[in-house]
């Protein structure tokens, strides 16, 4: 469903040049949740943006459902839903108006958009806030609205960038449940997060990024075998501080 071919991206000019992504390749299959893990500045968000065609890679390309990001960006946009914790909302629109607006942006008919809104509203518990203006929403409510916004057009591929940032326990649970639901109904999901516990619970495979490079990639079992560590936290620690183990 998603194939990443040697993606590279550099920001800035010498001497401040930063290699944000360095020749990264991986695949995500249908019905799979892929965890893109790494510390701040590892290049997670840049990879997601390159998949969407929002950043032009210096080399390499992403392929989504057979469409190459350097050739058919519009087609990729149509089959991908992207949700980021940094996304905002339109303060003066109601939740319903905003979601219907995004339905329009994705070329949905009004009836299809209404149907999608009803389904998402049930799944994400939005009924009570549908007619509230977005500027009065709490952080958790806003995050759920943003999640719904990225999924209005029922994309087969979902890119989630820190979707639980700033959420309380209940809010995190709602989002996690929904991600599990997405995988269950056959969507390909890439989850970029710092929350290793969540990732371990949800993801079938992982890619560990450090300084723009994919350090480890595979299932939990494969990672354990490769690193000799038990948990993602330990693996992470080994990647960030080589030669030490958690608890040393």
């Amino acid at each position: 469903m998603i194939r990443i071919h040697s993606l590279s991206k550099t920001f800035g000019r010498p001497p401040q040049q930063v290699k944000a992504v360095d020749s990264i390749s991986f695949e995500v299959h249908a019905g799979e949740v892929y965890g893109l893990l790494g510390p701040n500045g590892a290049g997670k968000t840049t990879i997601l943006r390159m998949i969407m065609g929002l950043h032009r890679p210096d080399s390499g390309y992403a392929e989504v459902r057979g469409f190459r990001s350097d050739v058919a960006v519009e087609e990729i946009k149509r089959c991908v839903g992207m949700v980021s914790a940094a996304d905002g909302v339109y303060p003066w629109l109601s939740v319903r108006e905003m979601l219907m607006f995004f339905g329009d942006l994705y070329g949905m008919s009004v009836s299809d958009a209404r149907q999608s809104l009803r389904e998402l509203s049930d799944l994400l518990d939005l009924d009570a806030i549908l007619d509230r203006r977005c500027h009065v929403l709490s952080t958790g409510q806003r995050q759920r609205v943003i999640l719904a916004r990225g999924l209005m057009h029922s994309p087969p591929v979902v890119l989630l960038d820190e979707p639980t940032r700033g959420l309380d326990v209940v809010g995190v649970q709602v989002v996690m449940d929904y991600m599990a639901h997405l995988a269950k109904i056959g969507k390909s999901v890439i989850l970029s997060t710092h929350r290793l516990d969540e990732a371990q619970r949800l993801c079938q495979r992982f890619g560990l990024l450090h300084q723009g490079r994919l350090v480890y990639e595979g299932t939990m079992t494969e990672l354990r075998k490769a690193t000799g560590c038990e948990s993602l936290v330990e693996i992470f620690h080994q990647v960030l501080l080589p030669g030490t183990r958690q608890g040393d």
């Binding site: 089959c79 905002g88 003066w92």
Partner: protein
Amino acid sequence: METPVGPSIKSFAFDRLFRLIRKELRETLRDRRTLVTLLLMPVIVYPLLGLVFHRFLIRYARTDKSPPTSNWVLGVESKEQMQMLHSALIRGDLLIKAGGVPQRREELIESASRVSAAEYGFLNGDRVDYHEYGSQPIQMVSRGLVDAAIIFRPSTNDNGSGTVVNAEILYRSRSATSLSAARFIEQRFHAIDLDDWSTRMTKAGVSTALPTQLTTRAVADELSPVFSLNSLIPLVLILMTITGAVYPAIDLTAGERERGTLESLIAAPIPRFMLLLSKYVAVVTVAMLTASVNMVGMAITVWSTGLTHLLGTESTSVIGLVTQTIGLLVLFSAFFSAVLLVLTSVARSFKEAQAYLIPLMLVSLAPGVMSLVPDLEYTPSMAFVPVLNMVLLARDLFSGAAQPLTAVLAIGATVLYSFAAIGLAARLFGADAVLYGSRGAWSDWLRRPDMPIQAIGLDVAMLMLAVLFPVFYLTSHANASFGANSPAGWLLLAAATTIVLFALFPLAIVWYFRVVVSSGLGWRSTHPAFLMAGVILGLSLWPVALEVVLRTLPTNLPEILASDAGVWRQMAASLEGIRSLPIPYIVLCLAVVPAICEELSTGRGVLRALTNVTSRRKSILASAILFGSFHVVMGGMLMLERWIPSTLLGVVLAWLAIRSRSLFPGILLHATHNSLMLVAGNNSGLSAWNRIAQEGHVPGTWIGIAIAVVTVIVLVVEKSTASRPR
């Protein structure tokens, strides 16, 4: 490759666009800050400004209406008339001083006779000096060289009772000093009249006629023109539309980034031009609303402070005034909203967007002030200067001096500039540099694609047209002045200009943006049947096109031509000169070269850019309108009657280009059509052509045959290409 999810949004659906506009308007109008901008000025600022302005004007008026000076300069034709007038004024003054008391009158005459006329002291200590005006009394008064002038007409007889002195007093309108000088003369002559009348009546009333027939006439005041609010209207329109558009423009562009919604917008598969167009319509609407509310506020302020006389408009109709104002509001709002969107699209924050406003204000106000410059002539070339063209149009409209040529050019140029600006904004909005704060933004627009693209973007196409239109007009105008001297050189120059503007320039753009010429320009072979269809259509369309031209020619054409005699005479001389040239040379320069070049640029290049964002039907229509609009300019003249036939031809050309997917059938159609018209027009021996010229109409059977042939060709082409995938 799998099928993407969801429908394509390539088609420019109006219902979707309407919903997008509605969202932008909701977002903007619900924001209290917009409401403050919308209402604060008219409700608070205008009444305050009105009061201040009123005080200023009262002060200004008082200066002009200060107590009449007691020393007037009066204009007379000659020294003899000066003596006659002075004597009459002294007599009249004595009569006024006497107040109708005979005894007092005798005493005063007696005392006056003891001093010379030059030393006579008028009532209230007033004094008069005289100045000879020669043959220009009106100019002398208008320019303030004399306060008032008197023109004596030949005297007439009054049934034997005596002669009647006929005279006219001239004074400057709007000058209290000049008016008081006129009153001074008038009162004294009136006193003489009454005295004579009274004397006659006393002598048994032999005659009832007055001995003096005196009239007064106001002439234009060139010395101290009174301030008119009209001259400020263009400035006010600039300020109002910028003020109204600025907040929504920032909010709907830079604001998207600040609130974190920009990335999700750019991640949606909607054409950015459509996105920007919806924002543009919203900004124009708010700018119009703000400006309208401001206008109403201003009107109420002007009316309530009693300043309506300062409007001094030539348009006496309120409906006309309102229509003009609304039209200008649309034009100003359309332009400034587009420019603001360009600036704010590149801004990364509210603060940065606001920083761009000061230069915009300064750049816009400079031409705005030009409306205050007296006697500034509005030439057609000025109609292509952004802002200045609208400012001068507003000035001329309100003074009733607007010319159709400059008005049409100004509106056309402004619309084109606005669309080009939206295209540019669409390219800049959400660019990598704006979205993520990396380097670039402006340079992103000029960035050469890494890989070949199938067609030029609509934004680039619009900018190309925005450059082409004024340059084409100006070069066409310059070439026309060359034509009368050397017709052969003129044609060569016209052909060279066409090649540079409509072929080399678009080809340079195509090369720079790595456009694939086969798809972007239709430079590819096609089935011979399409080429044949092009030739047949080129041979068949002329009766319809000619009939449309003949029917749309204005009935007062001679008067119109006479009013623009200079350019027309030049053009007629050039055309007459062309007749002496070899026909192949004429056809090459005026038919073949334009056909190839125009099909390259507006014909196929722009059409392909349009089909990228909208349906084929709408693309054909838009491309045809552009084609027609370019053809109304000929030799620096505006020939509006060419618009309809050229647009119709543009429809057929665009349709054929889309059906054949090639440039060449259109070139053949265009060249054949032009050549046929030129050959026929240059051959005075053609009896059929002469008959059309005499009757003023193309015979109905010819039109019928032409329509039948065109219909058959269209049906055959449509049927043969119906199964082709779109």
